[in-house]
Symmetry: C2
Subunit: 320 residues, 2 copies
């Protein structure tokens, strides 16, 4: 259990060899007006983050501390996303290691963000190709030929075929179905093919309206990881409710799920699903706020979290 310390290679900053900087970094999501929003700081290109420090009782409390300090926003639901060694900080010249532990947090926007230097942005500003609620987004018409071009540009035939296949699966080319959970794979393909800003080069980068708003370091990659995780998770665990107000209409619930998934859902089937799984109960009141007939208000049945170790909520997608 005790491993001998390696000798310090380059004495910079008086680090012992087996110590590293540890950063906590948060993807904070809320949904407002059917738009999935991300909490950012700076020029909307940076995720809230900060070093894990001595005074933190735990990793999670450290994260809460940093987010609250930088944005004034208190966090509710938190789950760990991924831990990675920070490539960008291990430059060839600086011999110091840094790791980042990323988290996904769900809240509601209402809680006033006190601080100044922060704000909410739709996550589709960073990933315009991910929103399929109004059909296949036009940006894909621009990205598709570029991706194919990249695939065909490989030197050997094997790589070409492999690239074509990866792109076709990730983006649903050649009559394949769109799979909303492949957000990370899509980002990685666009990165590899140098179609987005972070990939350096920049020669082939399309305008931001097509390739999306860039972020600092690998923050956009972390966001992609968060989106993918959330899109997968809503299908088998009732986490959507973390994003809802205490009472809501069924259509509001549906719109929220649609916002996250980036796809439209069939209304009657969605309702049946929700009711059948006993995820909600009526409050007795109705809402008149929306255009038409007043809607019944519901609240989340917290009991389901105890009741069973839930399976649930597959998406009844609307047909193309």
């Amino acid at each position: 259990m005790d491993h001998q310390a390696k000798g310090t290679r380059q004495g910079r900053a008086a680090l012992k060899a087996d110590e590293a900087k540890v950063d906590l970094i948060a993807v904070v999501v809320a949904v407002n007006d059917s738009e999935p929003c991300l909490l950012t700081i700076g020029n909307a290109d940076t995720l809230p983050s900060g070093p894990y420090a001595l005074e933190h009782r735990s990793l999670q409390s450290g994260l809460r501390g940093w987010v609250e300090q930088q944005t004034g926003h208190p966090l509710g639901y938190i789950e760990q996303l991924y831990t990675f060694a920070d490539r960008d900080r291990i430059g060839a010249e600086r011999q110091e290691r840094a790791i980042s532990i990323s988290y996904l947090a769900l809240t509601r926007k209402e809680q006033a963000t006190g601080s100044a230097n922060c704000g909410w942005r739709s996550w589709y500003e960073y990933f315009p190709w991910e929103d399929h609620r109004s059909g296949t987004p036009v940006v894909l018409d621009i990205l598709r030929p570029r991706l194919i071009e990249w695939a065909e540009g490989a030197s050997d035939a094997t790589t070409r075929r492999e690239r074509r296949q990866r792109a076709a699966i990730a983006f649903g080319f050649d009559d394949r179905n769109w799979n909303e959970e492949l957000t990370l794979q899509r980002y990685e393909l666009l990165y590899e093919s140098a179609l987005i800003e972070e990939a350096g080069g920049g020669r082939d980068v399309a305008p931001a309206a097509v390739s999306g708003k860039a972020m600092i370091a690998d923050h956009r990659r972390i966001l992609a990881t968060g989106i993918a995780r959330l899109r997968s998770k809503i299908k088998y665990r009732p986490v959507v409710f973390e994003l809802m107000r205490p009472s809501f209409t069924l259509l509001q619930l549906q719109r929220t799920v649609e916002a996250l998934a980036g796809r439209l859902i069939n209304k009657p089937n969605f309702r049946r699903l929700v009711e059948q799984q006993e995820l909600v109960e009526e409050t007795g009141e109705t809402s008149l706020e929306t255009g038409g007939r007043p809607a019944k208000l519901y609240r989340f049945r917290h009991a389901v979290l105890d009741d069973r170790a839930v399976a649930g909520t597959k998406l009844p997608l609307a047909r193309a």
Copy 2:
């Protein structure tokens, strides 16, 4: 992005305030003769691990290095499990932080473990209550009354009810179904109720045959996390094949899944599932090794990994 460094509180070991030790730690699993096995070092109570060091190109390669060095066993499939701050090393007296990044690795036992100080043990030695392949294990008859006793021992009624409910869900009391994925929750309950060795106290600890073999620090908790993850993952991603030889019979495949899940599976339905999802193809050869009629040999269709972004493999459990 640059956070001001906090002043060092207690100058021990010349650490800057926002640096920490980082350990890599591996749950290495193989299945032999229908028994799920864990690779350990020392007295079979320690997982392979080591510090993330300067010379490591990445977290994963660091992990591979340590495991190979400590056990002589090369790793194939690896996935990250969880990152946590090491409570046991943040004693009140020592002000230094340590974090552990844990991984799940799948291999086959054949690859000779060269090193001396290591070996394979069935993971059910550590969790005797997790193996339901021959019906409800007898150890549960001993643990159940103890858990109930613990629940009833709470001071206020709310806590009592909550404890009863948690125990009932996790262990399937009161006609609830057993859910094999709740391995971690079960471990945590036994820890809280001080029925296992690591929880200190030791007054109420049952003999190892009941409460399972203990491990160093929080290694057993990490193992529980790994088991839970694997049991959940085999249902929607074809990872079992990482544990199989290149060619195998369908019953061997079934027995492997059963070993991991700790439950029996219905044969005809399992076969239909595997074939229908086109996970395997016949090799053309047959195996005479087993008692009865020769069995067709199959191999994994690696194409499925490309073909689709797979959904699959839910378990067709045998009925109680």
